[in-house]
Amino acid sequence: MKSTRPITIALVASALASLALTVVYLRGGQPQAEGALLAVSLGGIAVALVLIAQRFLPHGPFVEQRDVEPGAPRERMLAEEDFDRSSDEIERRGFLGKLLGVAFGALGLAALFPIRSLGTKPGRDLFHTPWGPGVRMVTGENAPLRLTDIPVNGFLTVFPEDATHAADAQTVLIRLADGDLPPGPPGAAVEGVVAFSKVCTHAGCPVGLYQAETRELFCPCHQSVFDVLQAAEPTDGPATRPLPQLPITVDEDGYLVARDDFPEPIGPGYWNRGR
């Protein structure tokens, strides 16, 4: 006689756990208790069911025949005949079938067009950012910046004024160490302060890690390394293009401003990026 004891224990434990779960819930809930009690409550039933199956239910082995080949050629032939019934009428007027095809095809094509409503046209959106000549540089709180606001080896994320939510305009501002030769074309840097697009040219993650000792920007997503002293040229990892450098200067009030937008599209590549 196989014992029912373990099954009884499992089911009683389950019921008690369910009860406890209700109490826990009524008293405000607690995630660990909820999960553990639910596990006991469900697990008890699980164990009980399997034990019942193993001990008290018929387990054969039972045998059933199967068709090695599921298909039935004769039935298929009869089905084909049924399907082809009175198809001669249609076949004699072949152009009807063709016209139906044209109508369906045209409708299908028209039906695809709502897809166009899903988004805006890319156009030249990817080619520009809100930066432009004279646009002031601000912090995330829209506060303008002076040169004195960034110390040697300082690293800041900056935006164009009034565009602090513009994801494509995110820019890193770095003051190089004394003695570093500022990279980029003449006029791009100002007094050892340089600015580069923060959007990784590989897959678009913000390049938020700056290593001041080696003047390298490091992207955490796929480990691209950009050498700031070589104008953010990628020196390791899968990135193939440098981070575009934002040419900056100081306006007459002493605030940092951009001289122009980035010289090339920021961020990851797309098929017509070079045009």
């Binding site: 995630p31 697990g43 069911l49 090695v68 590989h202 678009g204 997503c221 070079g274």
Partner: protein, 451 residues
């Protein structure tokens, strides 16, 4: 009482014959055949917990001020989506445990699907007449992976938002249509406002509907063709041996459902997953390190880290770098997977019906190719955590990446070769298990000593 109800139904719908047939249906009950059920029941748990979550989640990126009970974020401007997930996690009773069970269920769901697929592959269960189900099953896997991605991107937190940015860039990288595809999918330039609501409807309606539909087809085909089985005592191509659906198989299967739910509940309450309050809300200029997607996308992430800085540029046009590891590789992967039953048929010229399964050793070439391929994706998967490994072992992350770049070619070749030799040796030695196999068998030359 049950008898009366059944009688009432039968008088109106009929179907007693079908019921009899169903109750007596025989199912082989080898333990490895239950992997599909583990996946199925994980999906059921996903549906149950998902319904609860969907009653609270707010699929909107409109800004709101967080005023819930998580102190560090009180007063912060966050999106409605993020706010609703925080609310679920801290201020809705059972909210956090439901969220966590849901996410653990997704992890186990895809894991079970992959192991189930490997079982089907290595036992040759995809052979005629089951090619259709192989295709349906693969599609289910893709849908599951996709739904997992859309799901964990819903809370609009910093980690998943970074993943969305990468997804956007991958779409951009597709030649000719990339920019349009990204703009139409997301609704504009990144981060477009449309994406969270669209992910939501994809995640709770479109893909689950497809999954349920395909699941029904998958199970119906198994029902119709009857399950395969390993060769063994009393088993033939022309029969099925096992337990009857009612009561034994149903009881065991129901037990399995409760066990799946129990394990997922334990995980959901006891082990923290996706603590979005610690990750912070998504801001496009912020990022965290380490940054990885959920595990089933690890192979794509790893491929992106391993693939060198190559891209194709000509005449102002380009095919950017991410296209190769993140579009071309997965495309080829799934194309080959879909085609496999037909490719194997072509190579083996085997057009027979098969209802009895292979053991891995019965088909050493298939096994070796499967092991090699699995190793290939496994190495890429491991490469996705190259920065974590570098940190834990005190190595330079560049060196770890280089090691993986070598391993991704060497390891599969080695694993494939070793498994081929082992399978061949096992087969030709006639032993049942590895332990019984004479060591000399491993040094087999082309001509075996024993057929």
């Amino acid at each position: 009482m049950i008898r009366k109800t059944v009688g009432w139904l039968d008088a109106r719908i009929g179907g007693s014959a079908f019921t009899r047939h169903a109750l007596n249906k025989v199912f082989p009950d080898h333990w490895s055949f239950m992997l599909g059920e583990v996946a199925l029941y994980s999906f059921v748990v996903l549906l149950l917990t998902g319904i609860f979550l969907s009653l609270f989640f707010d699929p909107s990126v409109s800004e709101t001020v967080y005023e819930g009970s998580y102190e560090p974020l009180q007063g912060a401007e966050v999106s409605d989506a993020y706010n609703s997930v925080l609310r679920l996690s801290f201020d809705v009773r059972a909210g956090l445990v439901m969220r966590q069970i849901h996410h653990w269920a997704a992890i186990v769901f895809v894991a079970a699907l992959v192991v189930h697929m490997l079982r089907v592959f290595f036992t040759g269960a995809f052979r005629k007449p089951r090619e259709i189900n192989w295709i349906v099953g693969l599609t289910l896997l893709i849908l599951a992976m996709f739904n997992g991605f859309t799901g964990y991107s819903l809370p609009d937190d910093l980690l998943s938002g970074t993943g969305l940015r990468i997804a956007y860039s991958i779409a951009l990288s597709i030649p000719l249509i990339g920019t349009w595809l990204a703009f139409l999918l997301f609704g504009g330039e990144f981060p477009a406002e449309e994406i969270i609501p669209r992910l939501f409807i994809t995640h709770v309606m479109i893909i689950p509907a497809l999954i349920i539909g395909l699941l029904a087809v998958h199970l119906a085909i198994v029902w119709r063709q009857k399950h395969t089985d390993f060769p063994g005592p009393g088993r033939r191509e022309s029969n099925v041996v096992g337990s009857k659906l009612w009561p034994t198989y149903a009881a065991k299967s129901a037990g399995l459902f409760f066990a799946v739910f129990a394990v997922l509940s334990a995980l959901g309450g006891l082990i923290q997953i996706n603590p979005v309050w610690l990750y912070g809300p998504f801001e496009p200029q912020q990022v965290t390190s380490p940054a990885q997607p959920d595990w089933w996308l690890g192979w794509v992430e790893g491929a992106m880290r391993l693939f060198p800085a190559w891209e194709i540029r000509a005449l102002g046009f380009e095919i950017p770098n991410p296209f190769f590891p993140a579009v071309l590789l997965p495309g080829i992967t799934f194309a080959l997977l879909y085609a496999w039953p037909f490719l194997e048929q072509r190579f083996t010229k085997d057009l027979e019906y098969h209802h009895l399964l292979d053991r891995a050793r019965d088909h050493p070439v298939r096994t070796a190719l499967g092991v090699a391929t699995t190793t290939f994706y496994l190495v890429m998967f491991l490469a996705a955590s190259n920065d974590l490994l570098a940190r834990w072992l005190g190595l330079e992350v560049g060196h770890v990446t280089l090691a993986y770049r070598i391993a991704v070619f060497v390891a599969p070749a080695l694993a494939g070769y070793v498994s081929y030799r082992l399978m061949k040796a096992l087969l030709l030695s006639g032993a049942e298990t590895f332990r019984e196999m004479p060591f000399a068998a491993l040094r087999l030359k082309k001509r075996p000593t024993r057929v």
